[in-house]
Symmetry: C2
Subunit: 311 residues, 2 copies
């Protein structure tokens, strides 16, 4: 349990090591999290998400720099899309260009968005717990994408900042429909570009349909010039106060825990199917039979399920 | 079985009705697919994917118009991001602006990307089967996003066209790493914009790492002006010939069936957890206990799993 002690003492190399172990699904890492689980719950988790090209990394850097100058201990997890079939980031970890790399109060880590065989965010969720135990005041989860991976990451966060940008074309329609429930705070970055105000207005209009007590603010930001960063931090702080004063922070964390539990149950089922009870052979045979039209996928599913239950 | 007969006769209203039934998980729809499953396998499924703002809809329209002028029967499924928590597209189906709407050889449908409680593409996969039985020669699956939903949709396709666009900024790095294994054919759309050739070159460089027999081509396209569309169709056709002549089409469809099967098994597990054996109460209690630090998520997972197995 040497690693556990080092983690509790705030040893950054122990943090890095444990996150790698979580990524590799080494049971020891989960044992350590289990043992130290009572030390979690202090970190505030902020998701930064939005479409490609929105400038999320720069924005995150600016927010983190501000917070770190106030003496806060911060972690950034940059979630990268990874290979769908091999499960690993092909080009290796993206090197995050940031002058925060040398800041002793900021821990930065790139992680792949998905694991083995469809598991999505187990590693990210594990990493959050490790960073929470480590003593981070804030954990930023930065993710590229509009869709499933983003949604899954959001389910691990207390406050989610949706970063939009002018010039998304027709897809703005689809994005707006998809993200309305995701964003707690909206930033329109690159606001010095044409169409920024229109984009902000369009988002505002969609948010008018929002019936919740919290009306997400929409802030114009030029991250590279540090414009709007203070305001954005204030919005995040206000959202946190809102969640805390209404008891909704607990509610949200319970909801997130539920998503994580369901995810873990699914992953355990997968590991039983593939690692333990050797159902892979049956699945492979049935997959071929489906293509040969010997069986349909729904009947095949019944057959697999009956076999699992018999074990 | 009136609906089944109408489907076999190519009745478009029956198709629309059946897809709605699949979305609503009505068992009758799956019974009809089971019954007519031997009629599947003729449609060629083409995925069109890429980041927001890449102009996928326009590109799809142009490709479909070309194919339809050759007398082909075509279906387009536009997969929209939907609300992560309610599971439904909040703003309703996006109305697809297209002059294909009145073309009797083209069937267009918007669908939500995800179902209830984490199920992703069951409805899409069901819709593909219905359209296949209906007699579509080509089924286009168009999806917004870079990440999980895109990857899941790709798992239903024979050929996937990855649509890129100049001006994605730093995120191009992450996207490239994520998409290398997804795209069979790459289009750089809006190629009249600055940086198009550079984007194409960057993609090309990443593809040089690809060790497969099939080297994905990268085509410069200006969809709104119909430029590069013929070339793109040719690439798709060549990829199809490659898959067919090498036996890889069957291999790919078996792989896709395997993904679908696993997905269906997961969804069945979820329906058992939530609909049948009333484990939702236990999950809710454990979720709360996790936040209260009474139990950690890994131990909670074990507990749920033990209960399922005892049923």
């Amino acid at each position: 349990m040497e690693l556990a002690e080092r983690l509790l003492k705030g040893d950054r190399r122990a943090v890095a090591r444990l996150i790698s172990m979580v990524e590799n699904r080494e049971p020891e890492a989960f044992e350590i999290i289990k043992k130290l689980y009572s030390k979690t719950g202090n970190a505030y988790v902020i998701g930064i998400t939005g479409p490609p090209g929105a400038g999320k990394s720069t924005l995150t850097d600016k927010l983190v720099k501000k917070l770190s100058s106030k003496g806060k201990k911060i972690a950034i997890i940059a979630v990268d899309p990874t290979s769908p079939f091999t499960g690993g980031a092909i080009l290796g970890d993206r090197v995050r260009m940031s002058d925060l790399n040398t800041n002793p109060n900021v821990f930065i880590r790139s992680m792949g968005a998905r694991g083995h065989l469809g598991g999505v965010s187990k590693a990210t969720q594990g990493a959050i717990k490790i960073l929470d135990i480590y003593g981070a005041d804030y954990i930023f989860i930065e993710t590229v994408g509009v869709g499933q991976s983003e949604i899954d990451i959001v389910k691990t966060c207390d406050t989610t900042v949706m970063v939009m940008v002018p010039g998304l074309g027709d897809d703005i329609q689809a994005i707006k429909a998809g993200v309305m429930e995701i964003g707690d705070v909206f930033a329109v970055n690159k606001a010095d570009r044409d169409g920024a105000k229109r984009t902000a207005r369009e988002i505002d209009m969609v948010l008018d349909f929002n019936k919740s007590d919290w009306r997400p603010p929409v802030e114009l930001v030029v991250a590279v010039e540090n414009k709007g960063i203070d305001e954005l931090l204030e919005h995040i702080q206000k959202h946190r106060e809102y969640l805390e004063s209404t008891g909704k922070l607990i509610e949200r964390r319970i909801r997130n825990s539920k998503f994580e539990l369901i995810d873990l149950v699914q992953q355990k089922l997968m590991s039983i199917l593939f690692d333990k009870s050797n159902k892979e052979e049956l699945i492979n045979k049935l997959s071929k039979d489906i293509v040969d039209k010997i069986i349909d996928p729904y009947t095949a599913t019944e057959r697999i399920f009956n076999e699992i239950k018999m074990d």
